[in-house]
Amino acid sequence: MTNFYTLTCTELVEAAKEFKFIWLSLFFVILGITQPLITKYMDVILENVGGADGITIDPNRPVPSSAEVLLSTISGQFNQIGLIILIISFMGLIAADRNSGMQDFILTRPVSLRSYLLSKLMGHWVISMFSISIGAVVSYGYTIFLFGSFSFSNFFLFLLLYSLWILFVVSLAILISTFVKSPILIAVTTIAASIFFILIKGFNHFLFQLSPGGILNLAENQLLSVHDSNYFSIATCVAFILLNLSWANMNLKKS
């Protein structure tokens, strides 16, 4: 437990030294305010930017609800561009230690592989959720300012469930890091696998519910106030996280 704490703190200090908390948060803040601003002022933007000849904005178009705007911010911005940048930011989470010999130095101490992997998971999850939360809260503020009120408890519940998805993505990056050494390849594979789990919704809804991506549906339902939610997705996502970690643990022991 002491080793887990020491290793996690080191991960967090390293992220602070690399200004990850600042630039990732800024990035998510920009993503968070872009969607509500574009949705609200699309016609003004087109008018001022120019080059909008032939484009007509229906003046009678329905004004989207705050829930819809928040949903498009998360699924359109955070879960696509945001996710890619996030994965790129932690693509070297195991590879850097492995290639520098740091991993060997750590594992020859009385440190269990479990503590080492859990510290990586926890450290990068905290960094990611810190940035995402700041971005999401700013987006929430802009959305209720521009489109009307929205329940904070629902928004908070959404963030809580979304954090499970992020935990899964970090665990996936850890698992892939035990197979490949190149950080770029780790990033590409993690991005591809994560997008697959998101896109599977369009192909087979049942499979999507059984996949770790099912948690996204549950999270989005909190924004849309849908009550027939499938809480089984939480168990599925946790099971996949545990599976990823156990597999990574096994791989590192073997090679």
Partner: protein
């Protein structure tokens, strides 16, 4: 102290170690020699508990090695630390992972930095250190918890001559108080510290060379002549199978089996040959190594 019995290790369906058995006693300095890709690093990673092996046993004072991680200091082949940490912070980090308490660490870190010659570099960031300094910091983290066994994987191979010299001096000092295993393919370096050599090739132990072995390998005799013989064939006898001319008056005689020095001397005396000196030829570790790892 450490015993390895019938160790087998396979990585990605490729057999890396096969039936590896040896033991190392307390106080010994053993060189683990082998060409690149022989399995030295994998063996070391199994011995330090980083990798799990499929078959065999590794024991430290009769207990499984994983129970003795606190007694092992390890220097990895690729020595790099968190570049943003200072030397002191790096050592503090590793000390904490070793379970050392803060008070002990505070006193011990400066002592260890002094020992490795980095006393005045305690506040330097790792990224400011030279290759030799990083390697010495690597040794510092390995000895910080005062281990009984020190395992050094290629400690000098990536360094320039100055860095190598610094690290070699440090190892020579450590040898006096710790059991050391040094993995290297630079034989000159190994011969400076090691009492014994374990030679590994294709994942198998092909030699266990002691100083006695080097001396007791009595198949070759070095002869210096007063007069240069007309033909080296004159030096051949029933026991001597091959004669090599090393210089105009120095010859290396090789027998198929162990040679009897007295018999060879008598033989030369009978032929009235002018011998200045005659002695068993003690082969260097490099020659023995090359013979053991060569495919022919």
């Amino acid at each position: 102290m450490i015993t390895v019995v019938k160790l087998h290790k396979t990585i990605k369906k490729r057999k890396i170690l096969s039936d590896v058995t040896f033991s190392i006693a307390e106080g010994e300095c053993v060189g683990l020699l082998g060409p690149n890709g022989a399995g030295k690093t994998t063996l070391i990673k199994c011995m330090t508990g980083i990798l799990q092996h499929e078959q065999g046993n590794i024991t430290f004072n009769s207990n499984p090695i994983v129970q003795h991680k606190k007694n092992i200091g390890y220097l990895s082949q690729h020595t790099d630390f968190k570049p943003w940490m200072t030397c002191e912070e790096s050592l503090f980090f590793f000390g904490k992972l070793s379970g050392l308490d803060k008070t002990f660490l505070k006193g011990n870190i400066s002592a260890v930095l002094e020992e490795v010659g980095l006393k005045d570099k305690g506040n330097y960031k790792v990224e400011q250190l030279s290759g030799g300094m990083k390697q010495r910091l690597g040794i510092a983290q390995a000895i910080l918890h005062q281990p009984l066994l020190l395992i050094l994987d290629e400690p000098v191979s990536a360094l320039d001559p100055i860095g190598r010299n610094e690290v070699k001096k440090l190892i020579a000092r450590l040898k006096k108080r710790t059991t050391i295993i040094i993995s290297t393919h630079i034989l000159d370096d190994a011969s400076e510290f090691c009492d014994r050599y374990i030679i590994i090739k294709n994942g198998m132990i092909v030699g266990n060379i002691t100083e006695e072995f080097q001396k007791s390998d009595r198949k070759q005799i070095l002869v210096k002549m007063g007069n240069v013989p007309q033909t080296s064939e004159a030096l051949k006898s029933s026991e001597v199978e091959r004669v090599e001319c090393l210089s105009p008056n120095t010859f290396l005689l090789t027998g198929a089996v162990e040679l009897d020095l007295q018999k060879v001397v008598n033989d030369f005396a009978a032929k009235e040959m002018d011998i200045t000196s005659i002695e068993f030829y003690e082969r260097g570790i490099e020659e023995i190594f090359l013979e053991m790892v060569s495919d022919t």
